[in-house]
């Protein structure tokens, strides 16, 4: 039913475009219009579609709670708890769908009938009211169309509103996510002291297994459990290994592509590098876990070194390979966009190609290059799959790349896989980690922007 109403609104709005335009064209035959006929069409289409759609959307949002209110109003005087009312209402709904298998009471039956009744009324009145609003607003706008109706301005205002709402939606969701992280994190820190989280040296979330509710609020349960130092250290350590692989290779290959490679080679090689960026991280993950990890272990054995099969080196190295195409492709782009006249200027001074690249092109492209590197770093810090698969889940505090270590993202996965319940510090720890991760990447982005800005001031 809903989709039928929606389609009807869309179709009517589309056809009213043609009516509006046609009327304008008729007027045009003896009077001068203030706008092109198509604006009259848009004008009528907006008047036809927008109010009806708005009402339809609002109705759909509020209908369920209004129906619920009417059904439950019969029982409001009985002093039931909120939870009991919810349960009752769920029973009513499943009975009305004939999916109820519990005990039938007269109350339940009566309410289910009432519910069905209400839904029916709501459904038909929605159709009638939405369509009559549509007809009314279209008719109003249609009669208003004359040679000097202002149509261009309302259309522009409407479009401006659409753009504004789109950006508002993006911003509001972001804010919503941040707040949900924030609230859970605050609850987490009411049980676990912030100091223990930030400076604690032990991370064993499995220890915080709560058997009953009385235990959940006992802080002694959680001492030496949620110390985030090992996983922060692991995160930065693995990211560092990744960047040690990605920055030199990515940057040099970007420079090669931009400055040295022939047009033909570039034409084929560049898409190949970009395909590399499209490989799902889970594929890199099992490459790291099944190929690189065991290879490093065997190599270590033959050299007499003890290498864990799930080493930070394997995860970081493969992560670095994953990031190469980002840095290479982006720095290629920024280097290519350095104006040719700077190169000419340098060559005309008798500089060689490598001198020109080192002393003129790289400095000119530096803001973009720094930007691409920092983008790579945020990816390395936020990367999950490779770490989960290749670097193990035990949060060791180590600086030995041959041992296994864990990261923030991997620990969030560990915590949220399997059974978990809300309000449990173990679950909330995931939110605290998520928020920390968010803050780290935010700071990184701010630093990146300011670095880029500083160099841009210097170089432009």
């Amino acid at each position: 039913m809903n989709s039928v109403i929606f389609l009807t609104i869309v179709l009517l709005a589309l056809s009213s475009y043609f009516f509006g335009r046609k009327k304008a064209i008729l007027i045009q035959s003896n009077k001068r219009l203030t706008a092109l006929p198509k604006f009259y069409g848009y004008y009528l289409a907006i008047w036809c579609g927008a109010p009806a759609f708005l009402l339809y959307a609002l109705w759909s949002i509020f209908e369920p709670s209004i129906v619920r209110f009417f059904i439950l109003s019969d029982y409001s005087s009985q002093g039931l708890l909120e939870g009991e009312l919810n349960l009752f209402y769920e029973k009513v709904k499943s009975l009305s769908r004939n999916q109820y298998s519990g005990e039938l009471t007269a109350e339940l039956q009566r309410s289910a009938e009432k519910y069905l009744n209400f839904r029916d009324i709501a459904k038909w009145s929605k159709v009638v009211i939405v369509l009559s609003l549509l007809i009314a607003s279209t008719g109003y706008a249609y009669t208003k169309i004359s040679n000097n109706t202002k149509t261009r301005e309302p259309v522009e205002i409407f479009l401006k509103g659409v753009f504004f709402l789109s950006s508002l939606a993006a911003i509001l969701t972001t804010i919503g996510i941040i707040f949900s992280l924030l609230f859970q994190t605050i609850e987490f820190f009411q049980v676990i002291p912030l100091f223990d989280f930030v400076f604690g040296m032990h991370w064993y979330p499995a220890k915080a297994f709560v058997r009953d509710a009385s235990e959940a609020l006992d802080p002694s349960m959680y001492s030496d459990t949620f110390g985030a130092v090992p996983i922060f250290a692991g995160t930065f350590f693995i990211a560092l290994i990744a960047m040690c692989v990605a920055i030199p290779i990515g940057l040099l290959s970007g420079i090669y592509m931009a400055e040295y490679a022939s047009k033909r080679l570039r034409q084929y090689a560049k898409p190949v590098i970009e395909i590399l960026a499209g490989i799902p991280t889970v594929v890199y993950g099992f490459f790291a876990a099944l190929t690189v990890g065991p290879f490093l272990k065997d190599l270590g054995l033959s050299l007499g070194l003890e290498v864990s099969a799930e080493s930070a080196l394997a995860a970081g190295g493969v992560m670095g390979i994953m990031i190469i195409p980002f840095i290479s492709s982006l720095s290629d782009d920024v280097i290519t966009s350095v104006p040719q006249n700077l190169r000419d200027g340098s060559y005309a001074m008798g500089a060689t190609k490598s001198e020109t690249i080192k002393r003129v092109i790289i400095p000119a492209a530096l803001p973009g290059i720094v930007g691409s590197i920092l983008l790579g770093v945020s990816r390395a810090i936020g990367e999950t799959m490779i770490v989960v698969m290749a670097s193990g889940l035990a949060a060791n505090l180590t600086l030995n790349p041959l041992e296994s270590t864990s990261t923030i993202t991997a620990q969030i996965v560990v915590i949220l896989i399997g059974d978990q319940q809300f309000g449990d510090p173990k679950t909330q720890a995931a939110f605290a980690l998520g928020l920390s991760l968010f803050i780290v990447t935010l700071v990184l982005n701010i630093v990146a922007l300011s670095v880029v800005k500083k160099y841009r001031e210097k170089y432009e």
């Binding site: 000419d344 005309a348 008798g350 003129v360």
Partner: protein, 251 residues
């Protein structure tokens, strides 16, 4: 005495021929102006003189270009040494994204001219003085060269070029992006520079050619139509086409 002698120079961009059999001699310590309508090949010819056409993949140059009696189009010519001797100023000022000081010190550094910091300081100051820019920038030589005005930027590029004491300076419409006052300053500078350098300037402005040059070559459709002293070209050209262009009948 002829500084540069071009003989039978042909230039192709891919399949399209841009210059046809150019023969031209250029005198030392004089300003030679190359004039002609857009697309006539005057800039292409200029770029043959320091092999800047090498930078363009599809560009092919044949013929002989002798500088100091040495053919620069030979296979084993060291273009780094060539461009050290033959500097170039471009249409749009192109200071490097570095400080004013670093812009000037770039050339001496890559060619290993200065042995010490104080020697470098001297080169920078001397170059800026010769480019008539020193008084304007002496208090801010460690600020970005890109922060200067268009005319100052172009003089910075001239200072950068003369820092390595080239024998020849090629100028490709050096004033086309500048206002009249900046243009006048550059023209004055060109006359000054002629004492130590041989200058070849491509220009769209015939009045500029008349003001700054001693010799003029007129190009049309990839051919050198006429070359001679500026006085003669402007007052008494032998070719009808030159006459027409000078008097503004086309171009």
């Amino acid at each position: 005495m002829n500084k540069i002698e071009a003989k039978n120079v042909d230039v192709y961009y891919g399949a399209k021929q841009a210059l046809f059999d150019i023969n031209m001699d250029i005198e030392a310590n004089k300003v030679t102006a190359l004039i002609g309508p857009s697309g006539c090949g005057k800039s292409t010819f200029l770029r043959c003189l320091n092999r800047m056409n090498d930078v363009i993949d599809i560009c092919k140059v044949s013929g002989v270009v002798k500088i100091n009696d040495y053919d620069i189009n030979q296979k084993d010519t060291d273009v780094v040494r060539l461009r050290e001797k033959v500097g170039m100023i471009f249409q749009k000022p192109n200071p490097f994204p570095k400080t004013i000081y670093e812009n000037i010190s770039y050339g001496p550094e890559i060619h290993g001219i200065a042995q010490s910091k104080s020697e470098m300081d001297n080169i920078v100051e001397e170059s800026l003085r010769k480019a008539a820019l020193w008084e304007e920038v002496k208090d801010r030589i460690h600020e970005p060269g890109t922060g200067l005005s268009g005319g100052q930027q172009q003089r910075l590029c001239i200072a950068r070029t003369i820092s390595i004491k080239p024998e020849v300076i090629l100028m490709d419409e050096p004033c086309s992006a500048l206002d009249p006052i900046a243009t006048a300053q550059i023209e004055e500078l060109i006359d000054e520079l002629r004492k130590e350098h041989t200058i070849i300037i491509v220009t769209h402005s015939m009045s500029q050619a008349a003001r700054v040059s001693q010799n003029t070559g007129f190009f049309h459709l990839g051919k050198l139509i006429e070359v001679g002293s500026t006085d003669k070209i402007f007052k008494n050209p032998t070719q009808q086409q030159t006459q027409d262009y000078i008097t503004g009948r086309f171009g």
